[in-house]
Amino acid sequence: MTADQTTADQASAPPADLRRSPAAHLTEQMRAGDVDGPRGVRLREIPFAVQLGIRAEPGAPSGRAAAEAWGVGLPAGPRAGETVTGDPEGRHVIWISPDEFLAVEPSGLAGLIDVRGIEGALDGMPGQIVDLSGNRTILELTGPSARSVLEKGCHVDLHPRAFPAGAAASTLLGPVQAIVHRTREDVFRILPRASFADYTVRWLLDGMAEFAGEELIR
């Protein structure tokens, strides 16, 4: 191989090879923390999801343009009982405030999204769409005990009556600001900011440990 070829290979190599997700260094610990059985719970990171911050009002022209560019309507908010729209396995939008939304695409198709094109959708209009993919990472807590683990320090009521599948809230998990998104009955996604990912993973693993043992009080 000549020097020219080496340079060409490096130039065409996908940048994904160089990326490290915020909780990548804890992959083994997360695997080791798995709990099986009826009290089971497991934690995984969903790395490199595309996340776009949308600042626009849903009823306004910029809100409609943002929804059209992303392909998913903006949720009406908790007062209307709608905090997430779209498919949680694909493109969806999480309500953050009346004029702030987080558009998320966690699947393997995230790399195919024309982020720059969507960012330009509000050109000349009030509001903005900004690529925030590096801001937060996604941790997925799954299993019958997932809710019990989160309830050790989550400041929203996670009972299905108040927080059913398909709900999301921006809140605190212990001392960490995070978005909690319940995608299914026993699947919770936690979106801490990247620099809090290490702490949040360790906090969750610590909370999961008791479920590997026998239940002491029924």
Partner: protein, 86 residues
């Protein structure tokens, strides 16, 4: 812990909020015209009633919006049950 009703998010724990002090303190129309005492009065002097008090809160861990509520400083009861004005 207080359960504070955010006008946008509904009832949430107090730790998600940031306290903003007395509400409806108007910025002086012509700040240049104030002497030091009047400026200090605007900056630092606040009412301290035993009873209903209009105050500002920010839902800092949630929607990050500011809102006004009326709270009873004796009983801690929020007198604006639907959440404050936006």
């Amino acid at each position: 812990m207080l359960l504070i009703t955010c006008p946008h998010c509904g009832p949430r724990d107090e730790v998600e909020f940031h306290y903003g002090g007395q509400a409806h303190v108007a910025y002086p129309e012509d700040p240049q015209a104030l002497d030091d005492a009047a400026w200090a009065h605007f900056l630092f002097y606040r009412d301290n009633p035993a009873g209903a008090f209009a105050e500002r809160w920010q839902h800092s861990a949630g929607c990050r919006k500011w809102f006004d509520v009326v709270r009873d400083t004796v009983t801690y009861e929020f007198l604006t049950p639907e959440g404050g004005s936006r």
